[in-house]
Every structure is written in C-alpha cells, then in structure tokens.
Symmetry: C2
Subunit: 583 residues, 2 copies
C-alpha cells in the first residue's frame, strides 16, 4: 500500500488576525517539512479564526481572506514548501449566489483550500451548517455543494468540514468516491465528556467509510468558547492510530499506509447525494517505501482535570488575545474567588495576578486570613482596601437597610476594583459560579462586575470538586496545594450581613445543582424535573429564581463554556417572559 | 361577487402568557362578532407571543400551546362564537420529524391554526424561516410543507406566515390555488421606514397573486423589539383598502368583495412548488348581500414621530410586562437623560417617573436647573443626592486621578440609583445613546447601569431631532413642550472634569453619526466608508473606538431597536477580535 506522512496542525488561530494566522501556517508547514511530512491539515477557518460571527458577512473580511489564501500558496512555494499539500480553512464567497432575504449578505462560505505548488488546487465549502447549541452558521454562511477528492502520492484524499462529519453523508461520500483518507478540519468547542463522543463519532465514520479519518481541531480560548484540540487519527477498523494533547498546541505527525487510488477516466458528471465530486490529481505516483515512525497516542485528562484546563485555557485566551497584562479580582476568602485566583495563576503566572480584599463590618476574620493564605501559597499579590468608611459616606445621604444595604457593599467593592483597573490596566475577573448566576444570587454591578468570568459555567458543587482536584494534582506533582483547605471546608457565605449563610436563601447546593442540571442544562419542564424525585416546593422555588434572574445574566461578562448548555450563547430565552413551568 | 367582513386583530400578545393571550383572542372575537365579522386574523405566534426564542424547543411549552389551541376552539364555540373563522398563530410540533443534529429539539413549528365550529379545521406551518437580522428561526423551528386553503362563505382563503411573504412563492401559490384572499399573520419588528417597505411588498404580492392581501401585525414591546402594528389590507390592484393605527391595539374591520371559489373535485395530489395544497371547506354558500361599511385608512406618523412612539412603546412594554411600578433615572440636565425623562412620562405617566440629580464638584449650575425645568414641565419627581462627600471617602483610601476618578464619579451615581431601586422597586433606566455605545464613550457600571436603555439605538444627532420633534408635537397639541430648550441647545458634556466637552474626545456628532451609519448600520469596510468622502484619520479613529468597545456593549442593558442594525440582536461580532479595517 502507498505510504503517506500527514501532519495535523493543532494550533490556536486568533479571530480576525489574518496575517498572524497565515504566519502560523507558514511556521507549522516549515516544521512539517522538516519532519518530511507530505500533507498538512490545519483547523476549520484557520485564516480568520473561529467563530467570526457576523464578520463573515463583511465584504472587506471576505476579500482579505480570499486574497490571503492565494498569497499563502505563493509564499509557501517561495519558501521551498511548495511540495507540501496543505489544507487551510478560510472564509470564501460562493460565486453566483444572489443576495436577498434569507441569503447571508455577500454569500460567505466556510471553506477549506488545498494548496500545492504555489497555487490553490482545490476548494470545498462546508455542506452542513452548524446551527444549534452555540453554532449560528445558517445566519452567516451558505452551504457548499462539492466533494473534492485530491490525489496525493497515489492516495485519494476526501474532505469533510466539522459539522459535516456529525451528519450522515461524508463517510458514505468518501466511500463512494473510493477515497482512502478523509481529512476533517474542525473548530469544535469543548464541553465536558465531548472527547468521548467525538472519538465514538470519528471511529464510526471511519468504519462506515472504510477509510482512515484524520480529525484536526483548533485549541485555545475565544470569548465564551474553549477549544481543546484532541486531534485524532482513526483507521478504517475504528482503531486509534494517533491522538493529540488536550489544551496545547501541537504538530501531530502520523505515518499511514493507505490503499492506492483506483485509476479512472475524468467524469464531469460524477456526483453523490446531490453533491458534485471534483477530482484533482496532485501526484499519482506512490512514494518509494520508507521507514515509518511511531505516532503519539496521548493520554486523556480525567474528567475534572479536563474541565480545570478548559477554564485555564479560556481565561488565558481572553487575556492574551485582548492584550491585558494582568488580572485583578476581589478575594473574599470564599471558595469561588479562591479557585479563580488559582486558575488565574495557572493561566498567567502569579506576577500577573492581583487580588484585593475589601473587608466590611460583617466580614469574618477568616475572610482575610484565607485570602492571605491563598496569596502565600500561589504568590499572587494581595492588597486590602476596607469599605466601612465608604459605606458610611453613602448612608449619611441615603436611608438604606436590608437588601439595598447589602448590595451597596458589593457595589462599593466593585467600584474599587474598577478604579484600580482604570488606574493600572488590569482586567477585572468576576468570580461568581453558575449556581449563583442561575438563581440570581449575586449583585448586579457588584460581585458580577468584570470583563471575564472564569466560573460562569461551573456549578457550586463543581467549584468544590475542582478545588479538591487542583490540590490533589499539586500533590501528585510534588507541589504545594494552592487552595487553603479552610476555604474549601467552610460553609459558603456572601458575608453581607452578620452570620449570613448561602443556605439561608438557597437549597443545599447538592440539591440545587441537580435541579439546575435538569431545568437549565437539560431544558426539562416542571413535570419532567419532578419525575426525577425532587421536592415540588424546592423545584418551584428554584425554577422561579432562574426565570426571574434572566435580566442579570444578560449583563454578566462572558466566561468559558464547559457544560452542555451554558448561560450565554447556548441558552437563549427572553427577559420579558411570563411563562411559568408550574401554575 | 361574494362578500366577507374580516377583522384584523392588531393586539399585544405577551411572551409566555399563554392563558392571557387566549383571553385576548376570546375578547377580540367577541368584539368582532358584535360587529358581524365573519373571519378574524390574529398575529403570528399569538398564543405564545413572539419571539419566544429557545422556549420554542421546550417540550412543556409546545405541549401547552398545542392543548390551548384546541381548548380555545371549544371555548369560542361555548361562547357562541363558533361561526367565526379564526386564524390564531401558535407554537406546534411537526409530527414525524426525528430529533438529531441540526433538527431543533422537539421539532417545533411556527404555525397558524384555523378555528371554526369548536374545532381546529386547518393548520399550516411557516415555510420560510426568518434567519437574518434579528431573526433566528432556523435555530428553533422546522419548516412546514403545506398550503392550506380554507373556503369561507364561498371564498377561498390562503395563508402565508410573516417571512413567507418576504420570499417569492406565497402569492404565486395563492394564485395557483385560485384563492382570492391571502391572510398574513405577522410578528414583524419595527425599524425606521419599514412601513413603506412593507406597503410596497404587500402591494406587490397582491398584484402578483391577483388577490386581496390582509396583513396583520402585532404591536407592543418585547425586550429589544418593538412592533408597530401597521396592519394593512391591499386589493388585487395594489390599492390600500384599510390600514391600522401605528403603535396601538386595534380591531380593524374591513368589508371585502371577493371572487367566488371555483367548484372543484377533491385532489389529494394537488401541490405547488413542492408544497402540498390542503383544502378545507367551512362554508361554500356566499352570504346574502349586505350593506358594506367604510373601512379605516389611518394616517401615517411622520418619520420622527414614528421613531418617538417606537421608543415609548418599547419602554412601556418592558415596564408593564415585567411588572415594574416605576422607573428611575439619573437626570444630569443633558439632552439624553432629558429626552429619556420625556419618553418615560409619555410611556407611563409622570407619577411613575423618578429622577435623581447627582451633582459633583464639576457639575455646572445648569445641570441642576435644566433637570429641575424638566421636572416642572413634565411633573416627574426629582430628588437630589450630591456625590462629593462619597467621592472623598474613596479618595481617602485610593490614589486616583484622570479616567479612574472620572469613571468613579459615574459609578457612585449608579450606586445611588441602584440603592434607590433596591429600596423602592424602581426599574433603573440607562440613558446613553447609540453614538456613545458605539464609541465606548460611557462608563461601564456607571451611566451604563440600568435594566432598560430607551436610547440605545438612537444616535446623538437623532436625540436632538427627536427632542425638537417632541416639543413641536406638544405645540401642535396646545401643550407645554416638555423639553427645556437649554438642554437641546447647550454643547454636550459628561461633566466629569472641569470644562469637559464631548468634542474634546469625539468628532463632531454630525460627522461621527454619518460614519457610524456607514460602519455599523451598513456594515461597510474601511475603503467603502472612505469612498463616502470622510477624512481618513477620523474614520480610522472612529472604527478603532467601535472595535474596542464591544466588551462594554455586551454588558449594556437591552433597548428598543429602531434602526436597520441595532447593537444587540442585530450586530453580532466577537469581543476577542484582532480584525482591523485599516492596516
């Protein structure tokens, strides 16, 4: 059988940085060539980054991407890399599609170009537009109608783009076209356990298509989305031939033995399932036999480790890609801000992380000592600005008590963080968790203040689990656990009035999070939630809290999605909404 | 020709209030029957309100809507209204469509049911899903594949649902089916000049279909969207037979002479353009001749009046549907908050509007006197809480100057508004305009604070125009102009440092707004903006400001869309985005 050495470029493309992304392509192609690879595959929408949302419809962006992919082919050739066959995702335009109602402006396509010998030798646009969950591709793209089969060193290579492989069709098409390799560039966001689902899918498609599947995913953080990489090569029997690292850039080089292409006459009518099959021959001669190298099959992270690194990757992406030097957060000594501090130190290094303790009259002694302990363990910088005198200055002018007074304390703290941010250029982090955000148990313009919210999609029970995981992980590495045990063990409190505990206002977090998983993550109605065995009064209370807090969530900063259904891109419900799940 | 008296129910359905919306249907049907109407048409998604976003995919909501439409038919009959033929928009489920990737969960449809004689006699689901601009229907609905023709008193009546009529097809289908009346229930949001576009469209479809078109639109505010009504009946020659009021509920009753249906044998294979034609005969006998009544053709508002009432309608909808008793806003004496105050008084009445003046050391005397003048003219309640002592209390603890100090003043004001909101239950209004939001010329967690932002989609130059329009409108009504002339005439200033003017930081508003119209509303790239004749340096500066302020816009409250492209549902770009229009 002919051999082929392929390189999967699992890289972090930055949205909108077309020149920078092209440089990544050149650099990784040079690296692939140095390792004698023949074919290199980059992720979906490599040149623009992914997702670019409505930028896909702007004529200037389309034009730039179309020109750049041609320039890139020339540059590769000029750098002596013209022999490589390079698959590059980019933004293209479907010619001949008129604009009009229902057709995205400028008829953009989510395309992949195949570069070789200084030219674009083939182009294919995504067939199945991703339009559920966090995907909105029917808004911005038109679908493609060709299947491109490129013959490389005597091997027929077919192409499917991300969502295409989640739908029926591409492996049948590859089989019909008698391709023995199916390359799949992706921008597939992380969510818990998706790596298992993804492996099952890729493996099934390989068996269905009787072909090898090379699945390349991007990595990095982009606003609410985190990409984990997890690129994978699966043989026609469904066995894993290579698998990339999670949450890191990598060039995964894999040697394959692939059935030779069937010699055939050109047939302009060739099609499958309504898609036209376009064939391009780059080289029909198999390579002389060479000694294959063993490929990497990286270990998986465990379930908690995977989520922890997703949070780190999301925060790092937001900070670095937006050019912030440092982050600042309020450190209350509570477990949410403590875990945020640990994540920030892991993402950025301790010298870029600033904490502020803002004790009030109701703050406990341990709120200060736990924050100080975190600073000692991690090396982050901790300052203290007490708020009692500022609160007094408001209360000299306004008569306040109860909730109004409690919230004002949280807002004074936020003013201090924002003043320090304005003065010193820090990005402020909001440290609230998903359970709070779901129930509205947070102060808008108070603890909800920030440019990014690392724990936005992390329920409170998972906050504790991740904290314990992080400490245990440190121990396996022979390092000091970053998170003070007392911050994990103490009962949660907002400390906005004397002796206040979260359990005064909310059901126990174990119960709350289970109900939220049913009502929010799985979108069940009242009867279906009840059927899982919860107390009806508690369910009613939780559902009412969630429904009433939608306005707060709309003004909350973005944070990394790690669950099946995050607040933000995933769950889209009206604010003005009188629907109640129970009468 | 047979006669038919139709009633267009231009009503305000509340999202999620299924029982309340069903009661509106019963009440309006009683009113229509009292006026001897034969056929009543309600807007798109009448029973659930529109748009319901992801609620469309929740099984409990679908089930409730499906059951309610059946109950409603029985209730109409029980109330002696069974002879009416009633078109009611509702959420339905497509039977036989499997769930899976790319198919919305529970296969919901945007449907219209035809009720008569205590039963649902026909159902049709929308063919063309609205998926551009502020529409996301491909996310939540599956498309229908039937055209339902219902014969009523010897007249064949066809149906198209909102977006269907914007696409080619429905009038050709009506013509092919030989229907002489096409009813079109809509949930078509307001934007400037859309009434003219809508009239042209409806008129063209009537001529193409050689039929009368009865276009019924909802009215009211729903989060970012405002519906203006503007229901219209157009004859087969394109002439307007009746037209409803803008921005008010109304039952528009119209007598029509319509060609009689052609007698035909049932044909289960009848179809057009891939859609199956389903015929239902409610009554084939034409009515005995009766004396027709003249129909209303209401005057149009002028361009500014239309926008003003859109803002009033949007605010009123948000306040009433969310159950707020009152609104509160900071009144700086500037034109933005002054116009907001006038809009709030028009929307809610003066006794529900509270203003707070928060003078600082840098506030001018006229900032107080202009706010007091507004209060005198409109009757809204004005309180004063100075902020200097509070600012001092922060500055005793933090060394701040420049931007950090300026922003802190705005945030102290916001804390005071929120404390009063928490204490007294007011909805806080953010008074910023679209030009500020575009350029980031506002303080996040400061003047950007609020639950609703009436001027979010109003550029600064339009703020002045609307203020002048409102005063002139008062004069035509013999009332005192609500807006102090000095607030309109004075140069705009944030008053966050001595002598500060907006023109220190921004280009003149006439220039700025023209560039924003090109870059934001029309989504042009740099070269295309320049081609309109602006100074390149000014364009670069404005484009850079817009690009950098995306993070602030994401945390801004919702406000009513009145332009072709609002910040929010319409313009969706990444925060993390290195694309720059100029190199």
């Amino acid at each position: 059988m002919p051999q082929l050495r392929i390189a999967l470029a699992q890289v972090d493309a930055v949205v909108g940085d077309l020149e920078g992304n092209a440089k990544i392509v050149l650099d990784r192609c040079r690296e692939a060539a140095a390792q004698d690879a023949h074919l290199v595959v980059f992720p979906e929408m490599m040149l623009t980054g992914y997702p670019i949302e409505d930028l896909a419809m702007r004529a200037s962006v389309i034009q730039a991407s179309r020109e750049l992919v041609e320039t890139l082919a020339v540059d590769l050739q000029a750098q002596g890399l013209g022999d490589l066959v390079v698959y590059v995702g980019h933004l293209d335009r479907a010619e001949g599609v008129a604009d009009g109602p229902g057709v995205p402006k400028n008829a953009p396509t989510n395309s992949v170009a195949v570069l070789h010998g200084g030219r674009v030798v083939a182009k294919q646009a995504k067939h199945h537009l991703w339009n559920y969950g966090v995907g909105d591709e029917m808004r911005t793209f038109v679908a493609g109608h060709t299947i491109n089969v490129v013959q490389v060193h005597g091997v027929d290579v077919a192409l499917a783009i991300c969502e295409d492989i989640w739908q029926e069709g591409p492996s049948a098409a590859a089989r019909a076209a008698e391709a023995s390799l199916l390359v799949v560039p992706n921008g597939s966001p992380y969510e818990a356990n998706k790596d298992d689902v993804r492996y099952d899918l890729v493996s099934r498609r390989a068996r269905e298509g009787d072909c090898t599947v090379a699945y390349v995913n991007t990595i990095g953080g982009q606003d609410e989305l985190v990409f984990e990489g997890d690129s994978i090569v699966v043989g026609p029997t469904g066995d894993v031939l290579a698998r990339g690292t999670q949450f890191a850039e990598e060039l995964l080089v894999v040697d394959l033995d692939l059935p030779a292409a069937t010699p055939r006459m050109p047939d302009p009518q060739e099609s499958f399932g309504g898609l036209r099959i376009q064939r391009t021959i780059v080289s029909s001669e198999p390579l002389p036999a060479y000694e294959p190298r063993p490929a990497e099959v990286r270990d998986r992270l465990d379930d908690l480790g995977e989520r922890y690194f997703a949070l780190v990757t999301g925060l790092r992406g937001y900070v670095e890609k937006n050019g912030f030097r440092s982050v600042l957060m309020g450190l209350s000594g509570g477990i949410d801000s403590t875990l945020c501090g640990a994540i920030a130190v892991d993402a950025l290094g301790a010298d870029r992380v600033f904490g502020v303790s803002n004790p009030s009259a109701w703050s406990t002694e341990h709120s200060r000592s736990d924050a100080a302990d975190l600073a000692d363990r991690t090396g982050l910088r901790l300052d203290t600005v007490p708020i009692a005198s500022i609160l007094d200055s408001y209360e000299e002018l306004l008569e306040l008590e109860g909730l109004a007074e409690e919230n004002l304390q949280a807002r004074i703290r936020a003013n201090i963080w924002m003043a320090l941010s304005n003065r010193d250029g820090h990005l402020v982090l909001a440290c609230g968790n998903k359970s709070e955000l779901a129930t509205g148990y947070s102060t808008i313009y108070g603890d909800a203040v920030g440019g990014y919210a690392p724990l936005k999609d992390v329920p409170k029970t998972l906050v504790w689990e991740l904290s314990r995981w992080r400490n245990a992980h440190a121990e396996t590495q022979g390092q000091q656990p970053p998170i003070p045990e007392h911050a994990i063990a103490k009962p949660p409190s907002a400390e906005l009035r004397p002796g206040q505990l979260d359990s005064d206002s909310l059901p126990p977090y174990e119960v709350l999070d289970a109900i939220l998983d049913a009502y929010v993550d799985r979108d069940l109605g009242y009867d279906d939630v009840l059927a899982e065995g919860f107390d009806p009064e508690v369910v009613k209370r939780v559902v009412a809290l969630v429904d009433r807090a939608e306005y707060k969530r709309r003004q909350y900063p973005p944070g990394p999605k790690i669950s099946r259904r995050n607040f933000g891109r995933d769950r889209r419900v009206p604010i003005t909404n009188r629907w109640r799940e129970h009468a």
